[in-house]
Symmetry: C2
Subunit: 477 residues, 2 copies
């Protein structure tokens, strides 16, 4: 069944009201990384709970306990769970979003006050949280409001899971999802999940995202002297840890981005013509990618290879060195202990668990070949598994059909190069399809100054999310 004929018009007619509501949400400075703003994150949870309740959603605030920040124990903001509809003949969709935001100060370079939503002449709604992730959450509220005010029944049962710590590592949420996913829990009976918390590839074409790379982060420690030494006195007399570290780091990845750790590429199938066709179809270009990077430095002249480099191939980046001289000027130090930081982005079937032994073994072998008297220690710092969903699942077919109806185009089917760990938690815990259905554009600047959501994306995105619910109801399981 398509969305009701008057749904789109309702959204357009209420545009000013919806933007005002977004301004109210943006005005609450729910910065989760700033302990002095913790009360605002809690306030945001209550604001959102009241909104849900006003449209008939049953809600509960789940206490997630405390965490330690800068040596102080702080209560975590509660997670907000909601539920509307319990018709066993309908599908049940779980909707996730987060109501906390990144920090923002006008002095960082904002053109406007970051917590005062400003509508610019070109329709940009500028403000912290406008696109990440208050706009998408409000897209769902707009849809709820339509059904409440027009007294229409929702086509599916909906469970909501909104958190206030996403920008600070989603502390406590994994445990909550696992608990509520058990029989008798809040998420029992969920058939599929929808997350609107990422972005289009560009500024033109809507996107549905079906994959995320994982990550595995390492530190290579080389130790030798007991303390930092003077290069005048000791240069030429001892094995210098920096020399060993730079030699080891140079063996990890070549200038073209090829990972040199043996066995890594054995895990990854190469793309066949059909798969390359997926990337060929994406509405993107080398020029756009280089513009985003700010330099003509793409690894290939092939759009397909560069997009696959981001989305479906592993990569290895060298981030820096802890313990070496990093300041300005010219310090003649031989650092005693240096820790080289690097990480791999993972694609299935790579996992931190199966990659770490390869990385460690390779580094230990290469270090042994060097013949240094210094000491090596390879440390795994953190990791997350990659995720790829079946892009032909009915959950995706619903999202695709909704996109066609609202935007009159086929969506770009993308995988993201980075990670959104909660996606994996939902997929693994609930054992169902998760679709990432973004509202904003690739230039929204989610974590930057002048974060914005275009008015058209807010309104069309609201229609998209509502229409997705109708297509969900309609699609064959």
């Amino acid at each position: 069944m398509p969305a009701p004929a008057d749904f789109g018009q309702f959204i357009d007619d209420h545009a000013d009201e919806f933007i005002k509501r977004l301004a109210s949400a943006v005005a609450i400075q729910s910065v989760s990384s700033d302990p002095s703003r913790r009360d605002d994150v809690v306030k945001m949870a209550h604001w959102l709970e009241a909104q849900l309740q006003s449209y008939g959603v049953t809600t509960v605030l789940r206490d997630l306990g405390t965490h330690v920040e800068d040596g102080h124990e702080l209560p975590l903001p509660p997670a907000l769970l909601g539920s509307i509809g319990s018709d066993p003949s309908k599908k049940t969709v779980l909707i996730y979003g987060h109501f906390d935001v990144q920090p923002a100060n006008k002095s960082d370079g904002w053109s406007t006050e970051p917590f005062e939503l400003t509508e610019e002449q070109d329709g940009r709604l500028v403000g912290r949280g406008s696109t990440d992730d208050k706009g998408p959450i409000l897209g769902w509220l707009n849809t709820l409001q339509y059904h409440f005010e027009t007294k229409k029944e929702l086509p599916v049962n909906i469970k909501f899971c909104f958190e206030g710590m996403e920008e600070s590592g989603s502390i406590g949420l994994d445990a909550l999802v696992i608990k509520e996913g058990q029989p008798g829990g809040w998420f029992e009976g969920v058939d599929c999940v929808c997350i609107s918390d990422n972005y289009w590839l560009n500024t033109r074409t809507p996107v549905i995202t079906y994959g995320l790379r994982g990550v595995s982060y390492y530190k290579i420690d080389i130790t030798g002297p007991a303390r930092d030494l003077h290069s005048g006195v000791f240069g030429g007399t001892i094995h210098e840890p920096m020399t060993d570290l730079v030699l080891l780091m140079s063996k990890l990845v070549d200038v073209k981005g090829k990972i040199l750790v043996p066995g890594v590429y054995d895990m990854v199938t190469s793309a066949d013509a059909d798969e390359r066709e997926i990337y060929e179809r994406l509405d993107s270009s080398i020029a756009e990618i280089e513009e985003a990077a700010g330099g003509k430095i793409a690894l290939s002249d092939s759009k397909v290879d560069v997009l696959m480099g981001r989305m479906r191939n592993p990569s290895l980046s060298l981030h820096g060195i802890e313990g070496a001289f990093y300041g300005g000027g010219a310090k003649t130090v031989i650092p005693a202990k240096v820790g080289g930081k690097f990480s791999l982005r993972l694609v299935p079937p790579m996992t931190p668990e199966n990659i770490t032994p390869l990385v460690t073994k390779y580094l230990e072998e290469e270090f042994a070949k060097l013949g240094s008297k210094n000491t090596l220690n390879v440390e795994f710092l953190h990791g997350g598994r990659p995720w790829v969903a079946d892009m032909n699942h009915w959950n995706y077919e619903a999202a695709k059909e909704a996109t066609r109806q609202i935007y009159q185009v086929e969506p770009d089917m993308t995988r993201e190069g980075g990670s959104i760990p909660i996606t994996l938690t939902f997929a693994d815990t609930l054992g169902c399809s998760v679709v990432l259905l973004p509202m904003g554009r690739g230039d929204d600047g989610a974590h930057s100054t002048n974060e914005k959501l275009d008015k058209s994306n807010f309104l069309q995105g609201s229609k998209l999310l509502g229409t997705y619910l109708y297509e969900l109801a309609d699609v064959k399981k």
Copy 2:
């Protein structure tokens, strides 16, 4: 002519008085790097001037102008020039020392108050500046006092040059030395120079130093993106500056400390058996060098090779990277601009001027081979030439004979791995022999916590400096 028979006894008899004077000097917190202590550096100049005048030395304080520190213009402490004796039939020796010290706070880990000279039971005189360089300066004062109180004529004419900015780059001193070295200047007629501002190799054997390595310091900048990027989004799509930089830095030096820049070793003669014999004779060992480094990490099992590695061979040290991630934890950044810092220690005939083209050409060629789309810039940050004196010059013969008389051993003839730039200024400007005749031991900890000068080194060192003057008078030009 040997020193007068009662000279040594005079020094021993006045030990308590001399140590009290050293305590008075240490008590003046003449930290040149701390603008809030600048008045104490000036006070120290006046204290020392009064001491010199009390023994008949003609003095003058030379204004060196101002310098900018942390954005504030500060007056430089004056240089203190002195002169005693003008007998044209005598040789004239220029004595250099510095009356400023390194910073020190008890909280840095000192066992005692750093600016209260503390005599420990084993004879260690612990206090900031005790060995670097107030003790040696007071060694000269002790000698002057002997001659003044016993009404004996000095065997040579002496010019003094004491500065208060040595620990902060000797700002202004080069210009002063050049000016005073001209006809009619304070240093006209100087025949040789003696500097007591370095240390024995160990705790046992007196040292005379005849060489210093130079230095040439570089930064390799690699730039690519316009701003730091997220490795999830851009890893695998662009040329990463860190990858290029680490590859380039890995081509500078191998794990055994061998410099890989072509042409460097063509400049350096290899040591013949006679020269190796010099290092074989030095009272040092691999064990002592490794103890000083705090790890069993010597580049060779050959004492001669390790000592030559410090003293007579060039070396290359990698110091660190500016612009990369250097903190704790795991930041998934692709740094946009990284600057690798490294330096070469130089031996004759290497100079920053003849080495820099080799370094730059090599790095540019290796970077071109990489085939990266990023941009390379090699910057020379600073340098200083190496220095090696004729260790058989009469100035050195006088120092050796004085050492034999006071310590009853042949001195270790050493070259230092680091640099003391003022040595070169004196050698070049005055065109005469400079000898480095240290007072303190290798474990004095000049720039560390618990800096000390052993009482025996203070007293025997005072005798050594006085005896050197008599041997100077005696030795054939």
